[in-house]
């Protein structure tokens, strides 16, 4: 949870209007991760821990460079290391992908969350968890196509990358960006980052023997606030299971869409129906005397 004073355009579990919706002509921010120039140094992991003051947990040594298998409630930024053999020339590729919250334009976590204000999306596109409003149900975990939100087992509150909303609101770039020594991380407006990413992908296609190079900005979740340049954009799965066409899970869509409407109509309709039935037919028998005139059985 950041302390930033940003305007909010989407609120989880919220009845009524959203204060910041359409009130600000702010540009959408974006983090660009060029996986082709990442060297896996983990400076971004350290910077994230440092800036966000996260308590350090035990790492998992599995004879690889991998710090731990997946992100944790107190470890929001994790580089995934993957070895991949190219189909065309059989050469080995060592793929490194910095994994964190993707800050979807249409966030599944926010759609699934029932707690008023526990998840917000600022007008600049950052999706932020407000642990003070979180109730610990874990529905956000089911809503995320990237398996990012993680629950603190002790406090039963869910945490994830904030895109350093506190820094961004002060005009700074996220901590991970600042720490990157190769310049594979960039931060700016979505428009600028897309331009930069497309340029890099074109360069890879035309000059670096990566004919499938491209930009990962999945439209299934409305685009993301974190985009990747991939050597092979046709196979995002090889980068530690990056989903090819992520969507808000159909279970969440069904539950928050048709089921909700059906349920509400049925409940309200049922109440009205029973009330009308009572007005029309009334009780089966008014008093005991009506059941049994004279009062004697």
């Amino acid at each position: 949870m950041s302390q930033a004073t940003l305007r909010v355009q989407k609120i989880s579990g919220h009845a009524g209007t959203v204060p910041g919706e359409g009130t600000q002509r702010e540009y959408t921010v974006c983090k660009l991760i060029d996986t082709t120039t990442c060297i896996g140094c983990k400076a971004c992991e350290v910077a994230c821990m440092e800036w966000n003051d996260l308590p350090f947990g035990e790492t998992v040594f599995d004879n690889t460079y991998q710090t731990m298998p997946e992100t944790r409630w107190n470890y929001w930024n994790l580089i995934l290391f993957n070895e991949h053999v190219r189909e065309d020339d059989g050469s080995l590729m060592w793929l490194m992908r910095k994994n964190q919250c993707m800050h979807c334009a249409e966030p599944g976590c926010l759609a699934a969350c029932p707690a008023d204000g526990a998840i917000v999306q600022y007008t600049n596109g950052i999706v932020d968890f407000q642990q003070a409003n979180c109730i610990g149900c874990g529905y956000c975990i089911t809503g995320c196509p990237f398996d990012i939100p993680k629950m603190n087992p002790k406090t039963h509150r869910v945490f994830k990358c904030t895109l350093c909303a506190d820094r961004v609101s002060e005009g700074l770039e996220p901590a991970c960006i600042k720490s990157c020594p190769t310049g594979c991380l960039h931060f700016g407006s979505k428009e600028d980052m897309k331009f930069l990413a497309e340029g890099r992908a074109k360069q890879l296609r035309e000059h670096s023997n990566h004919p499938n190079a491209g930009v990962y900005d999945p439209p299934g979740v409305g685009g993301t606030g974190v985009i990747y340049v991939l050597h092979d954009a046709t196979k995002p799965e090889i980068y530690g299971g990056l989903p090819k066409d992520p969507h808000v899970p159909w279970t969440v869509k069904l539950w928050k869409g048709p089921l909700k409407w059906l349920g509400n109509v049925a409940m309200v309709g049922g109440l009205i129906g029973l009330f009308v039935h009572y007005l029309r037919y009334g009780p089966k028998a008014r008093e005991e005397e009506d059941i049994n005139p004279g009062g004697k059985p």
Binding site: I135, T142, H156, P249, M267, L274, P283, A285, R286, P297
Partner: protein, 220 residues
């Protein structure tokens, strides 16, 4: 507690034993709590209900425990009543005549036993609904203890939980309507345990015949 210890007013018969009544009210209180907190998580427009019940985090914490209590009561009902809830030929005829039942023409109904076919449907609906709620609820209880591969299970569980809850809410509305509004004497029977002989004869003639037959000196 044996039935003989209870004082039953003149012209009344015992319908629910103390054990049956206690089980009913444990289930009722637990269900109403579950309903209120569950609806708060169902719709943002009802989130305030969780707030007045001590805050949404407290509701989230207690909801599963209330669920366990509710299911324990439902299980006890199953043990007590399942044999009496078997579908019979009279029930078949009852469903055929249900339009008379719903328009208060009870004299045209086939003679119901201790429970009529509608009550049996309610019982089995609540039983299976509660079982689904329990199973899906356990999966949803502690997501922090589930590894990534059970994400699918959790997603399905959320959907099953909401659907089963809606189904039981439908049954619950009918139950409250019948018990409190439509059948005068029904609410009092599950509080005090007894119904008038007239009530028994009117709504459960098969059952009345049965209990009168058991005793050589029927209570009058």
């Amino acid at each position: 507690m044996s039935t003989s210890e209870q004082i039953i007013p003149h012209g009344h018969v015992l319908r629910y034993t103390l054990k049956e009544r206690l089980t009913h009210w444990v289930a009722a209180v637990a269900y109403i709590y579950l309903l209120m907190t569950g609806l708060a998580f169902w719709s943002p427009w009802l989130f305030w209900v969780a707030v007045i019940l001590g805050g949404a985090p407290v509701s989230r914490m207690l909801h599963p425990w209330a669920g366990l209590i509710f299911f324990a009561a439902v299980w006890n009902m199953y043990v007590m009543w399942a044999p009496q809830m078997k579908h019979t030929d009279v029930d078949k005829a009852w469903w055929k005549a249900v339009r008379y039942y719903s328009t208060n023409q009870d004299d045209k109904m086939p003679p119901a036993g201790r429970y009529n076919a509608g009550q049996k449907f309610l019982f089995w609906g609540f039983f299976w609904g509660s079982l689904l709620l329990l199973l899906s609820g356990v999966v949803m209880w502690s997501p922090q203890y589930f590894a990534w591969h059970s994400l699918i299970a959790m997603r399905i569980a959320v959907l099953v939980h909401a659907s089963a809850a809606l189904f039981t809410i439908g049954l619950f509305l009918i139950h409250i309507y019948m018990g409190v509004f439509a059948e005068r004497g029904a609410l009092s029977s599950v509080i005090h345990g007894d119904v008038s002989i007239a009530f028994a004869k009117r709504y459960h003639p098969g059952w009345y015949k049965e209990i009168v037959g058991q005793s050589s000196t029927p209570r009058k």
